[in-house]
């Protein structure tokens, strides 16, 4: 059993792409750690306002009890930022996975089957794609809020809807090209069903760009999630900690001269978006053959040993 080829490609990345990838992975890893170990890293719960019956102070300055202070809702800012990482990672992961699954499936079927199904799906997807994504996310989150409430799943679903067209487009176009390949005809010739052809012959050859789109979309999804939270359409404050929501609550404090409640969630958003973008760009640079430059590596031979009698002769 051998590792897939792209693993060694990533491992052997050189130069700029390597640094981009490395920095991105590091930043993202820190936030992933926050997300995974939030209960142990954060001193308090995300919606905790009192400890042992004693209420936290409002808008407190950083102190031993509250490393980054508290905000206007009596929450501990540090805990909110750490728990926010868990929310962000959950929502982004869920939405990316869901939209990748739906987009890849639709694209594969639409590209392979063609005909009217393809035309109609293509039209719908292009229509979705032409909307500003934030507007679409707002509409979906409005619609979902009535049905399934304002939790993590609702936020993830409204983000899913806006990213499906990207996967669909890429996979559908690659499928249309691959459909005419001889190996697909060969698969028909051995008597494979259309479903088998799509699963075994097309899927592996058309999903190669999906991981890159996934990581690039992750950064975008995080921004959209923050925007939704900022507008009060994201996750309800009692369901999970949401950086965008905290940022919007902190606006008044900023005008009053207290920057801490806005600074830390804002910084978290910026850092994670940067990290994810770097990972995406790094992967793109590495895996996309159109961008990848195959650098010639300088070969250094060991100096010739003139004292060696074999060589001198």
């Amino acid at each position: 059993m051998r590792a897939p080829r792209f693993v060694s490609t990533i491992w052997n990345t050189k130069g700029m792409a390597r640094w981009i990838l490395l920095v991105g992975v590091l930043i993202t890893a820190v936030f992933l750690l926050f997300a995974l170990c939030a209960p142990w890293i954060a001193p308090y719960d995300f919606n905790q306002t009192k400890v042992d019956g004693v209420k936290f102070p409002k808008l407190a300055s950083p102190s031993g009890d509250h490393w980054l202070g508290t905000n206007d809702q009596f929450y501990d800012i540090y805990s909110r930022v750490v728990w926010g990482a868990r929310t962000a990672v959950l929502v982004v992961l869920l939405s990316i996975v869901l939209s990748a699954i739906v987009g890849v499936l639709l694209g594969l079927v639409s590209g392979y089957v063609g005909g009217w199904f393809d035309r109609i799906t293509l039209f719908l997807m292009d229509a979705l794609y032409s909307f500003p994504s934030l507007l679409l996310a707002i509409v979906f989150s409005f619609m979902l809020r009535e049905r399934i409430g304002g939790g993590i799943v609702a936020a993830a679903l409204s983000l899913t809807a806006i990213y499906i067209p990207q996967y669909y487009r890429v996979v559908r176009n690659t499928t249309v090209a691959a459909r005419e390949a001889t190996y697909v005809e060969a698969a028909k010739a051995i008597g494979a069903k259309p479903a088998t052809i799509m699963r075994k012959y097309l899927f592996g050859n058309v999903v190669q760009s999906v991981p890159v789109i996934g990581t690039l979309n992750a950064a975008d999804a995080l921004g959209t999630l923050a925007a939704l939270g900022f507008l009060g359409l994201g996750i309800a404050p009692n369901e999970a900690s949401d950086w965008g929501y905290d940022l919007s609550r902190a606006l008044d404090d900023v005008s009053a001269g207290n920057f801490a409640p806005a600074l830390w969630p804002g910084l978290a958003i910026i850092l994670l978006v940067t990290g994810l973008t770097l990972v995406g760009e790094g992967l793109n640079e590495t895996l996309n053959p159109a961008l990848r430059r195959r650098r010639l590596q300088k070969v250094t031979l060991p100096p010739r040993d003139t004292t060696d009698p074999e060589v001198v002769r």
Partner: protein, 450 residues
Amino acid sequence: MPTKPESPDLSQEDAGPGDDVPPGPVIETDGLEVHYRLQGGALARVLGLRTRTVKALDGVTVQLHRGEVLGVVGESGSGKTTLGRALLGLAPSTQGSITYRGRDGERLVSHMKGAELRRLRTDVQMVFQDPSAALNPSMTIEQAVGHPLVVHKIARGAELRRRVHEALERVGLAPVERFASKYPSDLSGGQKQRAVIARAIILDPEVLVADEPISMLDMSVRAKILQLMLDLKRDLGLSYVYITHDLASAKYFCDRIAIMYLGRVVEIGPTEEIFANPRHPYTKALLKAIPDPDPERMLPRDLPRGEIPDAAEPPLGCSFHPRCPEAVAACGWESRDLRVVLDQHWTERGADFDTERRLVGDLDHLDAPSKRATLGKGDPAAVLALMEGVRAENPDEPLWNGVRSMESDGSKVVVEFEEGVDPALRRAGGVDVACVLYPDGAGSDTAASD
């Protein structure tokens, strides 16, 4: 093994896989047509204008006898690949029939759909031209070769592995361990083609359609692959349809050869007969095109002039007549041929092009096929003189055989062509040939041959 009575000359191979096979050719097509509707431009589609039809196959009747190698030879665009794909049901037939007589009786391939068609693939398999493209780049050789068995739920697990290894060994990819876990990109062209052949034979088929199996390979491995195919035919009792543009390899490999031109079979017969005594002018031209290592014999080759015509609007009459050096009056001459001759005249003697062109006027209307062409813008007498001049330049041009009359009707010059015949395949000597030079009953070898 029962042999079809009317083909006693083909019983030399007793390679049938068993006694339970029905008599008669293993695959037979009857008037097979595969027509493709062209989409046309965007405007034509929106307005629903008439769409043109490409006749990839236009009435092909061939038989593949059990244990024989039938060569299908022709230029690019002659429909030979379409014929191969149609035999597997990969290209939908629009007219005519394909009959397959296999272990479970007689079946009409041309009427099969879906699951039934997929089941046929256990009996009729295909080897592709480009081995690098015919293997899924993301499957190992073991997966690719074994997949037909998985698809048809014939074998799995250890049994699957055993059969894959057996097939790989059979095609000479040994030691198997070295190749089984490789990806296609790790193998050479010849090795990939062996893997493609292994995938084709693993289902134990009766018929293999080989679509130019060696044309993408190095010279050094071509003969080896052909030898492998002959060995497999002997060991497994296969029948081959060997599609190629290379007559030299067909001579080595085939029992019978069908020469195709523009979607039709123009000559079909035993290989020796085709090579020793080619009848159709197209066959003669193809034979002359075989490279000859004799330095004394360089020229003339008189290869067919021009390119293969547009299959959407084939020439009237015999579709080879515009390129045929032996064409006669009845070949189906028409307005488009006249344009070719005029263009040829101007290409060779272009000094007076401007004046002559003004005299003759626009020639685009000649592109609509017609048995009657009118031309001339200036004085009809001068145009007539010009035309006579063109005829005098090259009186041997076969077109002039087909011109019944050329006269002025007062304002323009009217050229009338002889009625053409679209020749059908007819018996001539040991072969069947579709050419007006070999009319019915002219069975003797000397008739009208050079």
